[in-house]
Every structure is written in C-alpha cells, then in structure tokens.
C-alpha cells in the first residue's frame, strides 16, 4: 500500500478496530473486526472516488475479517479489497455474524477484477490457505459474489481446498435475504441491471478524463487564434463542451430512450440533433444565420466534427455499461471508428479553412 493512501488499514477512518486486546485465542480471533456502519469519512471518500480524485489508493489489507461474533458455524463471505465494495458489503451485514475473506484485487471492484483474473481461483485458494479457513470453520462452504464468477473456477476451488462455492446475489443489499433463505438467490437477485442511477454515477469519471484532454485542444486553438482571420471564441468553446456533455452524459442517461442499439450510433444521433439545434440558437441569438453561404463552412464543419465527438464518447461508455459483449463492441467499433475519424477530420479541415480565410 502506498504511503499516500487516504486510508491505511489500521486507521479509524475505515472503522477497522484491530482486535488486539482480546484475551480470546480462538482461531480467527486475531482477525480484525469490521464495523457495519459507515462514517462521514467513508462517505466523503466515496464521493472523491466517484469524481476520479485520488482513486488509486482506495484499497484495504487483504485477509480475514470478522463481522459480529462469528463462530465455526458462521458463513464465510468472500470479497475484493476495493474499499467502496467493502463498504457497501459491510453496511449490508448489520446484525449478522460472519467471516469476511478479502482477496487482494489491487483495490479493484469484484467485476473488473474477475475480468482480469485477480479476483480468481489462485488468489482465492491462497487466501483460504493463509487464513487457515479449514481449521477456522467446520462447514465447507464459501459465499462468493456472483459477479466474481468470471474469474473463479468453482470446480477447481472445490477440488483443491474442499470448499464448495455458492454464488451470492449480484447486489450486496440482497445478502441478508440470501442467507436467510438458506443461501438461495431469486432470479431477480441474479440479474445485473443498469438503472438511471447506475449510469449517472458512472458519468463524472468519463467527463473528467475528456475535459483533461480538451484542455490540450484549447491550447492548440489558442495558438491557431494568433494567426486566424476568424479567431475561435467563447461560442465555439461552448458548442464543443455541449457536444462533450451530449456524448458523455446525456447519451448514457437517455440510453434506453434513444432508438437503435449501437452506442456510437446513439451518441451520433444525439450529437447531430444537439449541434443542429445549437447552431440554430446561436444564429438566432447573434442575429446572423450560420446557414448562409458565408458561414456554411463553419456550420458544415461543426455538423461533421461535433456529432463525431459525441459518438466517440458514447462508444466509450460501452466500458461502463453492464450489457455489452466484447464481440458486439468490436463489431460496432469496426464500423463506427472509421466513420467517426473521417467525419471529424473533414469537419476539422473545413473549420480550419474558415478560420484562416475568415
């Protein structure tokens, strides 16, 4: 763990009180206790992570933890050492007595880590061994998050450790009910969703990274302006930022409402509507239409460039979505990427011609 970590494992901000003073030397007694309520610091940290600030050090020490006062009969839940995952989990374990086996996923959530294989068979077997789980509990069952399944070969785990893997529900909020109903998940609990709220939470990170790149573009525009007959102004910047918002925020939010299936298409469609509308409004505000022979270069340039930007950003949101397959994304990209690049390039050239000719 890096020295910059906002949350070293023993600090109180994680509400992990090391069970140091305990006189009980039962197996697992040295496992740190976990609080099931979140502090202000936890929530504040979560907001920072969502906004993409200080993201990389948000992890905790892997290993065994205990919730409540578990014994050798208590369930063992497995999770990742990403603090947001851990917080969501423990918040939902109120009133339960269980063991938590935290895998080292390098501070990445279960789903992504399973895709990479860090939430995986080998790591799980290692932690079972290190925690002495076989001596700690009398049963032979592990509850894994269902979203960890792409990384874990449960048959191999059973063969090597003797522990049978049961996959728990997708959402931590269903855990209690899952345990109460005898480790059975309803079909509803097994389905991954992609709600408006899910999508909203995911947009700031993408927006942040685009805006960083955009600063470079603004720098280039500034240089161009030194030689321009028609310098770029605030209108141009506002137009561009609008296209970014359309692709990176509006398209994800309106996803189910936009006709079509491919993300690039959806982004392009909204981008086109946005650009045409914005040009019209700006023309109306400034009392000079952009669709006259004198400014057609500008209008055409933007109509080619901006929807392409929105389209690209929307396509990037496939990574955040929960229902896209790699084959589908590849198919979409092979078709969309050349069109996006071509359209943006022609649009940029038209804009530059206008800029230097005036």
């Amino acid at each position: 763990m890096s020295e910059e970590s906002c949350c070293p494992p023993q600090s109180t901000c994680c509400s992990l009180d090391a069970a140091g003073g305990s006189t009980l030397r039962a197996p697992g007694a040295e496992a740190p206790a976990v609080s099931t309520s979140l502090t202000f610091a936890d929530r504040f940290g979560a907001c920072r992570v969502r906004l993409g600030i200080g993201r990389n050090n948000y992890k905790l020490e892997p290993g065994l933890y205990r919730v409540g006062s578990p014994n050798d009969d208590s369930p063992v839940l497995v999770s990742a050492n990403y603090k947001l995952t851990f917080d969501t989990l423990r918040k939902n374990l109120q009133g339960l007595d269980c063991w938590l086996l935290i895998l080292d996923t390098k501070g990445i959530n279960v789903w992504c880590a399973a895709g990479k294989g860090t939430f995986g068979t080998a790591e799980l077997l290692l932690r079972i061994e290190q925690a002495g789980l076989a001596r700690l509990v009398s049963h032979r069952q592990l509850v894994l998050p269902q979203l960890g399944a792409p990384g874990v070969d449960s048959n191999e785990v059973a063969r090597q450790s003797g522990f049978r893997v049961v996959y728990g529900p997708v959402r931590a909020s269903d855990i209690k009910q899952f345990i109460a109903s005898g480790f059975k998940a309803s079909p509803e609990m097994r389905r991954v969703k992609f709600t408006l709220r899910d999508r909203l939470v995911l947009t700031p990170i993408e927006l942040g990274s685009v805006l960083k790149i955009s600063l470079i573009a603004f720098g280039v525009l500034f240089l161009i302006n030194l030689f321009a007959a028609r310098p770029f102004g605030l209108f141009d910047i506002a137009l561009y930022l609008g296209a970014v918002l359309t692709g990176a925020v509006l398209t994800p939010l309106l996803l189910p409402l936009i006709p079509g299936r491919a993300f690039a298409w959806k982004g392009w469609l909204l981008g086109l509507i946005y650009t045409a509308g914005a040009l019209w409004i700006i023309g109306w505000l400034t009392q000079e239409s952009w669709f006259t022979p004198e400014s057609w270069l500008l209008a055409a340039g933007y109509l080619l460039l901006l929807p392409a930007c929105s389209s690209y950003l929307a396509m990037n949101f496939t990574g955040a979505s929960t229902y896209t397959s790699p084959s589908g994304v590849l198919k979409e990209m092979r078709l969309a990427l050349p069109l996006i690049i071509g359209s943006a390039a022609v649009g940029a050239v038209l804009l530059l011609i206008k800029t230097f000719k005036g």
Partner: protein, 96 residues
C-alpha cells in the same frame, strides 16, 4: 428494461450432450441467458449474453464455450495500440 445490445454477436455455444443439468451456469449468469428443461441447460436469450465467461469457467462438464472478454471500447483500443488482447487497464469503476 429495454436495454439490449447488438443482435447475433455472442460467441456462446453449448454442447447439450455434455451437459448434466446441474444449473451452475444459470446461477452465475448475470443476464439470465439460460433456462432449464428436461435436465438440460438451454440458451434461451443469446442476445443478452455479454461474454463474461462465468458460465464456461464454472461448468463442471465443460459443456460451454465462449470467447470471453470485456465489452469495453477503450479496452479494445488499448489492445490495438499495444498489439495485445483487449484488456481493461483502467483502474476505476467505470471500466469493464
């Protein structure tokens, strides 16, 4: 919800002869692709499959094959640039 992605792209395949009907695939699948009838698994909603690979990895009879990976455009681009398989090397929650 009406969110469905492209049609007929998933590489998912099931060898019904090998399947023992244990229903593990249905347990791990996040998009309810499978249904079960006459002691066998059936791919009922192929277009919902996101090729996560969970079912294939966890099937005790190796009855399932799928070209597993992450459905992420940024990962594909990273793969093209580095000349590797698409891999999601972003460290944040928005990836994969």
């Amino acid at each position: 919800m009406a969110l469905t992605y492209l049609k007929n792209v998933s590489t998912l395949a099931l060898d019904t002869d090998k399947c023992s009907g244990c229903a593990r695939c249905g347990e791990v699948c996040p998009h309810a692709v499978y249904t079960f009838a006459s002691k066998k698994a059936h791919i009922t909603h192929r277009d919902r499959c996101i090729e996560c690979g969970a079912c294939a990895l966890n099937c005790p009879d190796n009855a399932i094959t799928v070209n597993a990976g992450v459905g992420c455009a940024a990962a594909v681009i990273t793969g093209w640039i580095k000349g590797t398989e698409p891999s999601c090397d972003c460290t944040d929650d928005s990836c994969c």
